[in-house]
Symmetry: C2
Subunit: 467 residues, 2 copies
Amino acid sequence: MSRSASGDRIDAWVESEKARMLSELEEWLRIPSISSDPARSGECRRAAEWLAAHLRSLGCEAVELLGSRTHPVVYSDGPTAAGRPTVLVYGHYDVQPPEPLDEWTSPPFEPEVRDGRLYARGASDDKGQLFAIVKAFEAALGQPGDLGVNVRFLVEGEEESVGRVLSQVLADRPELIEADVVLVADGPFYAPGWPVIEIGVRGICYAEIVVRTLEGDLHSGLYGGVAPNALEVLVRLLAELKSEGGRIRIPGLYEAVARPSLRERQSWQRLPYSADRFRRQEVGARQLVGERRYSVHERLWARPTLDIHGIRGGFVGDGMKTVLPAEARAKVSLRLVPDQKADTVLAQLTRAVHEAAPEYADVDVRLLGGTDPALVDVSHGAFEHLERAFRQVVGRSPAYTRSGGSLPILASLGQAGAAVALAGIGLPDDRAHSPNERLDIGQFSIGVRTFARFFQSMASSDEKEKR
Amino acid sequence: MSRSASGDRIDAWVESEKARMLSELEEWLRIPSISSDPARSGECRRAAEWLAAHLRSLGCEAVELLGSRTHPVVYSDGPTAAGRPTVLVYGHYDVQPPEPLDEWTSPPFEPEVRDGRLYARGASDDKGQLFAIVKAFEAALGQPGDLGVNVRFLVEGEEESVGRVLSQVLADRPELIEADVVLVADGPFYAPGWPVIEIGVRGICYAEIVVRTLEGDLHSGLYGGVAPNALEVLVRLLAELKSEGGRIRIPGLYEAVARPSLRERQSWQRLPYSADRFRRQEVGARQLVGERRYSVHERLWARPTLDIHGIRGGFVGDGMKTVLPAEARAKVSLRLVPDQKADTVLAQLTRAVHEAAPEYADVDVRLLGGTDPALVDVSHGAFEHLERAFRQVVGRSPAYTRSGGSLPILASLGQAGAAVALAGIGLPDDRAHSPNERLDIGQFSIGVRTFARFFQSMASSDEKEKR
């Protein structure tokens, strides 16, 4: 059967099954599997069980829940084709917290289709994108002939909380990630019609800074003017850590930063970047900030950053309270780039915070999660199969870019020798991690059609690709 | 009857009635009359009604609830003695929010006596101290002979929230505060055995600063490095507003500040101030901060201050969320001293915030409450009566000091021509506005005994004091 006839068949199948596929996805999205919230651990388990049952319904026989009662890794062998290439599909079933709830147009765990987009927490990141691969697997299976490729699923439930279950599972059973290629859909196209394969991700060092200045809260009228205010100390300390121009003031932080090659930076300049569109429609800001001597792409993909995620302390209810707070906390994270290491950066941050703090304050830096940055080797032949599939479906070869986000598992997958292909099918305005997260339904179809072609293309490759 | 026989009689009455008085007070303290919390407005009403009923039970006939359904002013004439001096008792039945709840040893609205102290929100500020005057009135009434002095009560329910009800009531009925002397118990002794009459209070300008940098929250992985972070802007802005040395960096702010006279400052130096005790036991800090060129008393009573009371923005729940916050808010207040004006300072703060903010951020300064500072004229003869009463009960004349706190009504009371006597009977470690607020029961007795003597002394004064 010719490649194009097979492709037409896939496209027809996707069109006829679309409504069913979306209703299955909506069922999964209704489960609030927020991994960072201990109160939702039962929901994380439910989301894992839902996926396991779904994979079984597609013919996967060895579906296991591994490593944790509450946040298990879902692992599944597809139908086996001995001696043929193996594609490992990685994704995650956990989602970010939905707060602030009042900014959602429809509730985060009640999926709703509006204007050709499916709105729900996890619609894009990552249930929806992962589900496009699952459905591509179903589509490829549904085609005449044997699948001719081994497809395995490895889906974790702690990607958004940087948990330890997956690394523990892999420490016990490293063979789980033996594969020729790892396929991941957890990110956006560069723009509509512009697919990308991301070859780098930033790492992260996420910490909480705790400041204490008093034994207990005081009345600002009675003690204001002499009593140290914990929020004031915290504010001054945070202001110290980064210049207004975006330079992080942590000694040693930039020493390990490797600049991308000139070739890579030049390729980024060929992307259809519209400064105005990016700033207004995607970021939604009056002005971009940061290190002006680096391009926006370099700032996003290849420069470390420091952001404050939340501050807690004192009185934040309605009305007035003249409290002089004894304690204040900030959640901050640094995004890391090759060749930084999360543990080194934590030590640098901790030292900088202690040095910036006045002697009358107790400060503490607590790591909440860390993962190293990673870069992928793109010499593997599987990338050509994936390039071709995208070209057939969207009419353009994917560009090789990076992601500013973090993917803890990438380093492990790469170390196991597999080619890791990060080929997200979202769009830049999917609002991952924000209110009104959504997935463009057209992109979902593109994902199913592309990945089904990729599976078939891998299956029809003449020989097992080099490892 | 000799003065000392009358004093003995008062003391015996206080001793025999103490348990009953405390149980009455506990009943009142159980009502969570938090005026800054709209959800508690019904409780504020209940607290007002409780007091009104109690005053009626003591023989006050004209007890009215004025100006508001939810936060009324309680106004009451005592038994009338035509032509005799009039003492107006001012206080407030509303309390501060009790948060953080988990730092309370016993729940804030379940009064509990431990080690001779009564623990509850409002035990000291101000239900407990006001109640000492109410009971002194009862004690004085219970003595043989006519009371010989007019005692009126004016008790508001918005002192902790700087509401408008009292000022509206007084605008309609200015005669309510016509009196020879206004007695207020809402503060501490300088130290045990060291009563004070406070002749000055600081004003306050309490505002919320709102910063917005983005249309919506973003994912720090995808946009960190180029997207402006509202918390970062807020932090830098707050750090700008005050130097580490305690100097407020708001142009023009210090222009209206009048330094206390050398005589007043010298009298403060005679107070039994123990730097070590104050810092460790009262403030609970490793080091005092602020403007080192001014004494601690001057910093507390006669210098403007700026404090951050709370910051809200981003994600502060458990776990990690890599949100890049679009909006952040800070509650701040400035304490003001003579001759600053709250409305002038608000304008100065607003201008400074707008000037410090980067052009890519929207900032807004919203007034939550403001009141001017005030100083009392101490030439009125009533001060001698109060001095004598304290001398009889605690063996020492009260010192004339100031309060670092704010008392919105003081300026109005003073303008009406009355002598205002701020004679708190709390202790410095009462923890007003903090968890585990308490009232020393011995101090409560001192209050009842002193104020009952004061009423009788005023009653036996030969003529109506000059207005």
